[in-house]
Structure formats: structure tokens, C-alpha cells
Symmetry: C2
């Protein structure tokens, strides 16, 4: 089962963050930060009906991260964790996922709030956040449970995963 | 910005569904359905610490869907919607996303509940569901708001997106 898949970006995410240094590492740390997604013109019809949703998933490529580490020290922790138990970019396939607030869809431009990605990030997919599918009852947050509220909102990235 | 990315599966998702006909289309429709994910041996170290989380995201390839439709009639609706306002497989890059309940991590085998994918689906990534990052306050579900509770849990797929 070594089937590889070629993914082609459907657009680009523009954000105020041109450098990993000091970038918020989760949407919760990026309250009020606006992002502007430019979807390639050829896909504009696919954005119909999206504006009815309050939140969307962005699936993107951690394009500045080339390496793969199976164990990492996450920004919010001080000990090593398995990469699949973190949201770190240094993962196989370098796929990123963020849930953001949808503000506006105008032609091929999608404006969102709570953006936590680098300016110029290649976008692979947009999906609606559907509470009736996605909302989790009584989740348990593993090692993140021990992270302080201050760190969840306030921690910033650095260049460790470049 | 035409940088393409080559993605290599990190494992395979085994489910009871060998055919799209009658498969649940969301985890909410697959309550009690167990899936067994076989992660490639080379990535086993990346699974450390995952078992502390109650829920995980699976990101996978809709491998049986080759086509791309920018407008689709979703399984739960009767009118056309933009593909990015749906979770349909016929999307650019054919990336699937499910939030499932994590039951067990044992070496390279991850057992989950609420699986809504075809047997043999190539897995691209596992991420922890972290309520403190991902939980959405007061979501609005767009066109899905009008879908009945019965259809959210009970609708099954068919072969329309093959």
C-alpha cells in the first residue's frame, strides 16, 4: 500500500505572520487576527453555500517545514511527545488543520478570524465545521490538559521546526 | 503558486465497509462501529502519548473517488451545494476528515469507534482532538441546520461520487 497522492493547492492563505517567530500556534491564540484566503478562480463555484456556516476547517500544507520528527517537544510542553499526539508541523505529510471563524465569502476571497498560519500558506481544502457531525461530548485532552490557560492563548511559535 | 505536494499514506484504515453502498456518511451515523487503523511500523514512535486523548482526527484520502465536482447534491440534501460547503469526497485533493473516539493504541494498531470510511482507506495523518483548541462556541451549521436528526444519524452513502 504505497500509493502516493499528488496534492495541488486550491489557493493561498494570507495572514499577518511572515515569520514563524512569535506566530500564534493555535486559533485560540489568534483571536481577532484576520486572514484572507485567496481561492484559485477555477474553484470559485465550490464556495457556494459556504457563507451559511459560522466556522470552517482549513486544511493546508506546513510549507516551511521540511523535516519529519516522530518525537517532538511541542511549543506548549517541555517533554517529548509522539508527533501524532501533537499538532506540530514536523509530521509525515506536513498537513495542518485549523478551525477558524468564517467572516465573509466574496467571490474567490474568504475572510476568516483566528488565523494561526504563516502568510503564503498553500491551502489544500476547506470544509464546513458542522456541529452536528463534529462536536465532541466530554473530550479528554491528554497531555494538553496540564497546559495553563495562559499558555493555550499566549504561547507563540519559534523556529524549532524549520 | 503551483507547488504540488506528494503525500504518502502513513497507514491504512480498516472498517466493516467494503462498499460505499449503505456506508455511514459521518461518525455520528457510525456509533458503535469499530475501526482498526494499521499504522506503518516506521511511524510507531509517533503514536506515543496519543492514548491520553479521548478523540482524534483522521485525515485520509477518499481513494475510491477520482472525480472533482465543484457542485454536488450532498447525501443529506436534495439541492446542489458548493463542494467546499459539503463533506463530499468529490473535492479537489480528495481529502477526508473524521473525528472519532479513540479506544486503544497498541503498538502500531489504533482502535477507534465511529468510523465512517471505506475499508482500506489510506491514512494521511492522525491528530489529537484538543477541546481547548478545537471546540467551537455557538456554531451555525449552514444548510445542514435544516437536515433532520434522523438523517444526520441514519443517512447512508450510495455510489454517486464514484
Amino acid at each position: 500500500m504505497e500509493r502516493q497522492t499528488l496534492m495541488k493547492p486550491i489557493g493561498v492563505i494570507n495572514s499577518p505572520f511572515n515569520d514563524l517567530e512569535k506566530m500564534p500556534i493555535q486559533p485560540k491564540g489568534a483571536a481577532g487576527v484576520l486572514g484572507k484566503i485567496v481561492v484559485d478562480e477555477e474553484y470559485v463555484d465550490g464556495l457556494s453555500d459556504l457563507s451559511g456556516f459560522s466556522h470552517i476547517y482549513l486544511i493546508y500544507n506546513f510549507h516551511q517545514c521540511q523535516k519529519i520528527n516522530l518525537k517532538v517537544i511541542p511549543f506548549m510542553d517541555v517533554v517529548e511527545r509522539g508527533i501524532f499526539a501533537t499538532r506540530s508541523p514536523a509530521r509525515p505529510n506536513h498537513i495542518g488543520l485549523s478551525v477558524v471563524k468564517l467572516l465573509e465569502v466574496k467571490e474567490n476571497i474568504v475572510t476568516v478570524e483566528g488565523i494561526d498560519v504563516l502568510n503564503g500558506t498553500p491551502l489544500l481544502d476547506i470544509k464546513p465545521y458542522v456541529a452536528r457531525f463534529d462536536q465532541v461530548i466530554s473530550p479528554v485532552d491528554g497531555w494538553v490538559t496540564a497546559v495553563s490557560e495562559k499558555d493555550v492563548a499566549g504561547k507563540r511559535s519559534d523556529r524549532r521546526f524549520l
